[in-house]
């Protein structure tokens, strides 16, 4: 059950409140969504915004690469200090 609790989620959906766990559910199902090509195409067309691939986006990856790979706190929560410590063992 996503954070927020069953009652809150159910009441939320009844009264039109935002389901704050929905984005994570979308992330979890993205691979399944992509399996259905026509549905994917419909989705991309229906959102009303064009997809662009600016060269700056590629460039921007250097920031993201450093953020995601080098600067991140590792997913299991190991901090930089802990990681450095492990390496010296």
């Amino acid at each position: 059950m996503p954070a927020g609790g069953f009652i809150e989620q159910t009441l939320g959906s009844l009264f039109g409140y935002r389901n704050h766990a929905e984005p994570f559910e979308i992330l979890q199902s993205v691979k399944d969504t992509l399996k259905d090509e026509s549905a994917t195409e419909r989705l991309l067309n229906s959102c009303g915004l064009p997809i662009t691939h600016q060269s700056e986006e590629e460039l921007e990856q250097s920031w993201y690469i450093s953020a995601v790979k080098n600067w991140r706190i590792w997913p299991n929560g190991i901090s930089w200090a802990a990681k450095s410590k492990n390496l010296t063992k």
């Binding site: 984005p23 959102c47 915004l49 997809i51 986006e57 250097s62 995601v68």
Partner: protein
């Protein structure tokens, strides 16, 4: 105002990327093939060039950043090389970078490139906590209009790096005053956005009302589509609920309150989808999506953005 790319990267830093790639590729290739002593010929060539042109601080900064990159490459390949060797080499690269940088004064030269290089070297120093706030304040004073500096400062202000949540809050507020002429109250959002993207527990101390006011100031000043996509992804994905998030109820409420601004960013500012921005935000939250294949990253990012936008439009706007 210093020049940046449309997505906010300082042009001076962007200009170093190609050369850094050339310097680093022999190291990367060697480590991937299990060779523990990669050729440093290109590194030596750049060192020689720097000695031949000692006043060229751009070349010195390039070399320092290449050393930083090389240090991180060694650290990230620890699975294939001995941990101790990797860590010592990481340290050596950062020490070398600091030694080179000590010959230049960013402030006297008016160079934000040198100042950002100093900030990049921090993770390899023995006690970065003693100096990192001063280094970032120097950088922001030299180049107050580049948002990336604020984001990176936010990351380093986290307790997992060199700071604490209290220091994060203090500096976010302090910068709001010192950079008011450029960002209004925007510095608060810029600093916290960097921090929260790495550690959602930083929401515990955030002032949601100030964050929202500050976000408006940022969006008024950054009208480009990269910013719109970046903050839309931040508000909808980074601040969303997820099973692995066990922050306090108070923190959750703050997250939810701030994330309501996503409608404003999407409706008022988003005119196009930048898939990679969405992908990189999503891959941090759901590591199962991580891939090095850029076309797949774009596909994931595009579909995620489209679904998020479509899902938000299902709800009545309040």
């Amino acid at each position: 105002m210093n020049a940046t790319t449309a997505s906010g990267m300082p042009i001076s830093e962007a200009l170093t990327l190609g050369a850094r790639k050339v310097v680093l590729s022999p190291i990367r290739d060697a480590l991937e093939n299990g060779v523990q002593q990669p050729s440093l010929d290109v590194f030596h060539a750049v060192h020689d060039a720097m000695h031949a042109h000692p006043r060229n601080y751009g070349l010195a900064a390039l070399l320092c950043l290449a050393h930083v990159d090389a240090g991180f490459i060694w650290l990230n390949y620890t699975g294939k090389v001995q941990k101790q060797i990797a860590h010592k080499t990481f340290r050596r690269h950062f020490a070398m970078a600091q030694e080179i940088l000590n010959n230049y004064n960013a402030y006297d030269l008016g160079s934000s490139l040198l100042a950002l290089t100093q900030c990049a070297i921090l993770p390899g120093l023995d006690d970065p906590a003693l100096r990192f706030c001063d280094d970032y304040e120097d950088l922001i004073e030299l180049d107050p209009t580049t948002p990336q500096h604020f984001l990176k400062f936010g990351v380093h202000l986290l307790p997992a790096w060199f700071g604490s949540y209290a220091t994060l809050e203090n500096y976010a507020r302090k910068l709001t005053k010192t950079t008011y002429d450029f960002w209004g109250k925007g510095a608060y959002t810029l600093v916290y956005a960097g921090a929260i993207a790495q550690d959602v527990a930083a929401c515990e101390r955030v002032d949601p009302d100030l964050f929202l006011t500050s976000l408006l100031d940022v969006m008024e000043r950054r009208t480009d589509q990269h910013a719109a996509n970046h903050y839309a992804a931040f508000l909808t994905l980074t601040l969303a609920d997820a099973p692995h998030r066990n922050d306090s109820r108070a923190s959750q409420k703050k997250r939810h309150k701030i994330s309501e601004a996503a409608d404003y960013v999407i409706d008022e500012h988003m005119r196009e989808i930048h898939p990679l921005t969405w992908y990189h935000t999503a891959a941090v939250i759901n590591p199962a999506l991580q891939t090095d294949h850029i076309p797949t990253q774009k596909l994931y990012g595009g579909v995620i953005a489209a679904q998020i936008i479509a899902s938000r439009r299902r709800y009545p706007q309040t």
